[in-house]
């Protein structure tokens, strides 16, 4: 089933971390397997925020010997950062396997990212100027608490509660998805993509990387590919209605925009609230009410509807 949610404050920052946590916790019944957040703070021009995962949760239960493996992986990541002349300005470690680096880097960031992901068991969850992508097993409250998301200030964010249907219960199959070559893009999706393998092969032929077998990752790669080729977010969303088969409602966030698209059947839900300074959307109204308890007017976007909002 899965639950998706997103919000964007127009022209101001807010406590997006706690707001997204409240919205996703209200959607817990739609998917208890994993929870993910993509939240956007003030862009750090010139610097990059890199979120990296060096193991799956199940790896951590594979015995004491794995700790050494994990330490080696982390050391290898940092060695590669140094090799690519990236300066680590700050390092945070929320769990034994999840790290956040604030780096400055003048070189080819995509090339550096590809080298890092060549390390066994290492996946870059996000890389960008404003994006912080956090995902792990458990409900929204647990993940938010583990990663200290409650105090996060930002302009917008999207999130996902996952009920695994197409792939395993693990972090690599959790949403949101990020994809290079376009920094700061993230996607959450509720639905099934039926031409996944065809489109995946097309994207792989273009040189794009897939880190999971989850159909939702395709939407991130597809969107990143479009944006990197100069296609606007709105146009990319519109094209997806024709080019992606299946039933889907998905949200896309970039450094300063938030967009939504619904398939031709309108088979997956989305409830939308719009005011002058806040746009909030979720699979169910209960999620919006978690941050707006007062009486509000909401609507359901129709089939093939595409919307984009600016922060």
């Amino acid at each position: 089933m899965c639950g998706i949610a997103g919000l964007i404050h127009k022209g101001k920052s807010s406590n997006v971390g706690s707001e997204m946590t409240a919205m996703l916790q209200a959607l817990k019944h739609r998917g208890p397997d994993s929870t993910g957040f993509a939240v956007y703070g003030e862009p750090t021009e010139g610097d990059y925020i890199m979120r990296v995962k060096c193991a799956e949760r199940e790896d951590m239960e594979s015995g004491r010997g794995f700790t050494e493996v994990l330490h080696k992986r982390i050391a290898d990541v940092e060695a590669l950062l140094a090799e690519h002349k990236a300066v680590v300005k700050a390092k945070e470690q929320a769990t034994a396997y999840a790290l956040r680096y604030l780096i400055s880097h003048d070189g080819d960031t995509e090339d550096m990212a590809r080298h890092i992901e060549e390390l066994e068991g290492v996946e870059i969850l996000s890389l960008g100027n404003g994006l912080e992508l956090i995902k792990d097993l458990g409900d929204a409250a647990v993940v938010s608490d583990t990663y200290g998301l409650g105090d996060f200030q930002g302009t917008h964010g999207i999130g996902h509660t996952r009920m695994a249907t197409e792939s395993d219960v693990d972090i690599r199959s959790a949403h949101p998805y990020w994809a290079f070559p376009y920094n700061d893009v993230s996607v959450v999706h509720n639905g099934q993509i039926t031409n996944y393998w065809i489109k995946r092969r097309q994207m792989e032929q273009k040189g794009h990387r897939f880190m999971s077998n989850c159909d939702s990752e395709l939407l991130a790669v597809y969107t990143a590919d479009n944006l990197a080729n100069g296609v606007s977010l709105e146009e990319s969303l519109k094209r997806s209605i024709d080019e992606i088969d299946g039933v889907f409602t998905y949200l896309v966030a970039t450094k300063d925009q938030l967009g939504m698209a619904k398939d031709t059947m309108a088979a997956k839900p989305l409830v939308l609230y719009e005011s002058d300074d806040l746009i909030a959307m979720a699979s169910e109204e209960v999620a919006i009410r978690a941050i707006l308890p007062e009486e509000i007017d909401t609507t359901d976007p129709y089939d093939e509807e595409v919307r984009v909002w600016q922060a």
């Binding site: 031709t264 059947m265 309108a266 088979a267 839900p269 409830v271 169910e284 109204e285 209960v286 919006i288 009410r289 308890p293 009486e295 007017d297 909401t298 609507t299 359901d300 129709y302 089939d303």
Partner: protein
């Protein structure tokens, strides 16, 4: 089809077969439809186990801190105590509220509800001041439900009787599989509204999305605005004086009468080209089944 033999059916025209098999809106039967058309029959309004309630006995229930089950149990307890008017406060999009109410009741919801609001009801009069999520009034048998704001998709799915009214706009697949009753929408409706509709009537004052009335068996859809496209086997029909009188009565009843009246409404019915019922199948197959 009691009393009609296979040979008699075979000798009939398609129209006659339809009538003999009770497959048209002209041959209504069933409990919920009898309620609509025989309001004087007191015993049809109540189930033997339904509590006696009094409309002037009123109770307010605040949903804060309650689960859906606790809220619905509180409502049932209130009805057992004779309360004929229940007011729900602060629902904030809660799911499955008021499901399965099978007796007379005035239910006022001061806010919005989530999925499956007042589904499977038979008898109550409901007013929801906010909006509702997906599948409001699903399988409703009788009574009236009025939503002041918008509604989600599958509004009135498989409804069998009563009036289900949304003053705002509704999502997709409105009245999917509806088998009776009336759905009234003040605004627009989404794609595939009336999909596989079997009986009943739907009125939409605004526009309709694509594939309206797709694969509908019977029933009637009235659209006041534009229709993006008709579904398979849905066709336009002439709006009769009887239709206009009925539309006027229903829309005035719920204060949704358009300024320009009802003359501009489109009437959509089943083309009945997809019909292929068992009465046309050979006896050998019936014996096997």
């Amino acid at each position: 089809m009691a009393g009609v033999t296979d040979s008699e059916l075979q000798a009939m025209t398609q129209e006659q077969r339809v009538e003999a098999l009770g497959l048209t809106t002209e041959q209504l039967f069933g409990r919920s439809l009898l309620i609509e058309f025989n309001p004087d029959e007191e015993e049809r309004y109540t189930y033997p186990w339904a509590p006696d309630v009094f409309y002037n006995k009123r109770v307010e229930i605040d949903t804060d801190g309650l689960t859906t089950t606790e809220l619905n149990n509180k409502m049932r307890a209130a009805m057992e105590e004779g309360n004929g008017t229940i007011v729900i406060k602060n629902p904030r999009g809660m799911h499955s509220v008021g499901v399965g109410i099978l007796n007379r009741l005035t239910l006022e919801v001061e806010g919005s509800l989530g999925y499956f609001a007042v589904g499977l009801i038979d008898g109550p009069n409901v007013r929801i001041k906010g909006r509702v999520g997906w599948s409001c009034g699903e399988n409703m048998m009788s009574g009236t439900v009025v939503i002041e704001k918008n509604a989600g998709s599958t509004f009135g799915a498989a409804i069998r009787g009563g009036d289900l009214v949304c003053r705002g706009s509704v999502g997709s697949r409105t009245g999917i599989d509806m088998k009776g009753g009336t759905i009234i929408v003040g605004g627009d409706t989404g794609a595939l509204s009336g999909f596989m509709m079997q009986r009943g009537r739907m009125i939409v004052c605004g526009n309709a999305g694509k594939n309206l009335g797709d694969s509908m068996y019977d029933g009637t859809i009235f659209i006041g605005g534009d229709i993006k496209s008709l579904g398979v086997d849905a066709v336009h029909a002439e709006l009769t004086d009887l239709d206009k009188a009925w539309l006027t009565r229903k829309l005035q009843q719920y204060e949704l009468m358009p300024d320009k009246g009802v003359d501009h409404f489109h009437k959509i019915v089943a083309g009945k080209q997809l019909w292929n019922y068992d009465n046309l199948e050979p006896n050998e197959k019936k014996l096997i089944l």
